[in-house]
């Protein structure tokens, strides 16, 4: 899987309560949910963001609650991928289950700045910063996780397995 997009950068310890505040958790409609993504972190998020952009963030992204809406709202908003120094574990699972590619690389996060043009190759396990002409090697994701991402998330992957 190859993902291309511009970087939008934020800091460390971004928690699920600011990714999607509790007051929106009973929304199921994907557009409504997407429209509140990162609202309490950066009210101007949608003025910078265009579909396909890649969020580049510090350590411990997605800490806090298990609310899958945190991964869902980013996916629905059209975030192409996430690169972080590290992710909180439940968010990590949820993102994969939503088919949202996520990569850990401190080196890349330190080097990339907002608006850099990026290209992530999940098979080759590399991130390329085209603006800076830099390349970073990343830890390849386990095969079964790559398969879930390729299927577009755990729901599709299960459907395929169960043939229903």
């Amino acid at each position: 899987m190859i993902i291309k997009g511009r970087a939008i950068k934020y800091g460390d310890d971004i928690n699920t309560d600011v990714i999607i505040p509790g007051r929106y958790l009973d929304l199921i409609n994907s557009e409504e949910l997407a429209s509140h993504a990162l609202e309490d972190l950066d009210p101007n998020f949608f003025t910078k963001f265009t579909k396909g952009d890649i969020l580049v963030v510090g350590k411990n992204f997605g800490c806090g609650s298990s609310r899958e809406q945190a991964a869902m709202c980013l996916k629905y908003a059209g975030v192409g991928a996430l690169i972080a120094k590290s992710f909180a574990r439940i968010f990590y699972r949820n993102a994969i289950n939503q088919g949202l590619p996520i990569i850990e690389s401190s080196e890349a996060v330190d080097a990339i700045i907002s608006m850099d043009e990026l290209e992530i190759d999940l098979y080759a396990a590399t991130i390329r910063d085209k603006t800076k002409n830099l390349q970073f090697e990343i830890q390849p994701l386990p095969i079964f996780i790559q398969e879930i991402l390729n299927d577009g998330g755990l729901i599709c992957s299960l459907k395929k397995k169960l043939r229903c």
Binding site: D13, I28, S65, R67, I90, P142, F144, L162
Partner: protein
């Protein structure tokens, strides 16, 4: 090679003789808990299109987050959950007013040592207090568990915490775990399991241990296990007849890291806004004005917690500038608190008692904060916006600190208000 408690539980659940940290396993789940977010899990379950859930006896649903329903939308979601429970013959539903999930499960005897429990809630780590591997998963993972009864895990490395010393009076389990989080950091245990040892942990009541394993989630841990002892076994056998085997770690188990904490001299601790590891001794911030004091939640809404606060408030009146909200963690705790006279103490002191459940913890009802307001709370998170306005401030402290602060209208060291 020796194994940790997590390795043993995950080995058994995945049908392996032994497993090592780093292995990926497909593990069979003993119990799956979900709360109000069951509406999302059931929507995903229906979307996948399987007819029947894997095991209606092994699913526990607790309505606690927005109870009684605060909006029509919430009421509709609760209604859908009840319908789903009926349709799927799910045995265990705890409806409005029963209590908060992480109290209900241990209290009703669903949790025993050695179990593998998943919950669609991050604080599922709470069950580690009675020697189970409890961990949080998201809604899609939960829907998959409802279908297959299994979930994949990476076997975590384990961090060992030896906590020793003699706690000062009015320094409680909450202070101990906040102190540890302050040192380790909010991501200090991410992807790892924790095991807690030492005389301080041994001396804690089960209520105190449940607080530790619950709050420990705020350092990112996957499981927060306290090795079972006689106290654990007595507690569990008083709740259930189900047979269980205590799982302990081997002498030569491999720990990624061992932390030694001597907590003899610690003061009551406060986690300051907006991060749970922004922990300071109470003396650093005494005097900060507060508008709301919250006593409750799955962290500190148990009988020990209500007792500690009642001791401070007995015969006194809280500051007229403070709304104090008390949320017993379950109906049984509520009744016990009535019996002990704690509820009368709170009401006389000017506090508001709300129904067992999550209460104001997640900022949806029963005490939402306005812009510029400040709260002290015995809950587990002080994130920006957690209790309402993103421009409100939340300080976390022990039940005793919450009560003392409600009394004075500002953050107060509980040791100073008792003669």
């Amino acid at each position: 090679m020796g194994q940790t408690i997590s390795e043993k539980i995950l080995a058994k659940a995945s049908g392996n003789k032994d497993v090592c940290a780093g292995d990926f396993v497909d593990a069979e789940i003993d119990l799956a808990m979900s709360h109000d977010n069951t509406f999302l899990v059931s929507t995903i379950f229906n979307e996948i299109g399987v007819k029947n859930i894997w095991n209606p006896d092994k699913i526990v649903i607790v309505l606690d987050h927005r109870t009684p329903a605060n909006t029509i939308k919430t009421a509709e979601n609760h209604k859908r959950i009840r319908k789903f429970v009926k349709k799927q013959n799910i045995t265990h539903l705890f409806d409005v007013g029963e209590g908060v999930c992480h109290q209900i499960l241990p209290e009703k005897g669903f949790v025993s040592p050695g179990m593998l429990i998943v919950g669609s809630d991050s604080h599922t780590t709470t069950y580690g207090a009675v020697g189970a591997f409890g961990t949080g998963i998201g809604a899609t993972d939960m829907a998959a568990v409802w279908i297959t009864g299994k979930v994949w895990f990476k076997v975590p490395e384990t961090l060992r915490f030896n906590v020793s010393g003699k706690l000062s009076r009015y320094v409680s389990a909450k202070d101990v775990i906040l102190h540890i989080i302050g040192k380790i950091g909010v991501d200090g245990a991410t992807y790892k399991a924790c095991e807690f040892y030492g005389n301080v942990i041994e001396n804690m009541s089960i209520d105190g241990r449940l607080c530790v394993s619950n709050q420990a989630m705020e350092m990112g841990t996957k499981a927060a296990i306290i090795p079972p002892d006689k106290k654990t076994v007595d507690y569990v056998t008083s709740k259930t007849n189900v047979k269980f085997n205590v799982v302990s770690s081997d002498e030569d188990a491999t720990y990624e890291k061992t932390y030694d904490f001597d907590v003899s001299d610690i003061e009551p601790q406060i986690a300051c806004p907006d991060k749970v590891d922004n922990v300071k001794p109470v003396s650093d911030i005494v005097g900060t004005e507060i508008h709301q004091a919250v006593l409750g939640s799955c962290t500190n809404g148990r009988l020990d917690d209500l007792a500690a606060a009642a001791e401070i408030l007995k015969g006194k009146t809280i500051s007229k500038n403070v709304r104090m909200i008390v949320v017993p963690a379950s109906r049984l705790i509520y009744l016990a608190a009535v019996e002990h006279g704690y509820i009368q103490t709170f009401v006389n002191a000017g506090a508001t008692i709300v129904n067992p459940g999550c209460g104001p913890c997640l900022g949806l009802h029963q005490g939402v904060l306005a812009e510029g307001e400040c709260a002290i709370s015995s809950t587990n998170r002080n994130f920006k916006g957690r209790m309402g306005s993103p421009d409100a401030q939340i300080y976390l402290g022990s039940p005793a600190t919450v009560a003392a602060s409600a009394l004075k209208g500002k953050i107060t060291d509980p040791r100073g208000v008792i003669e």
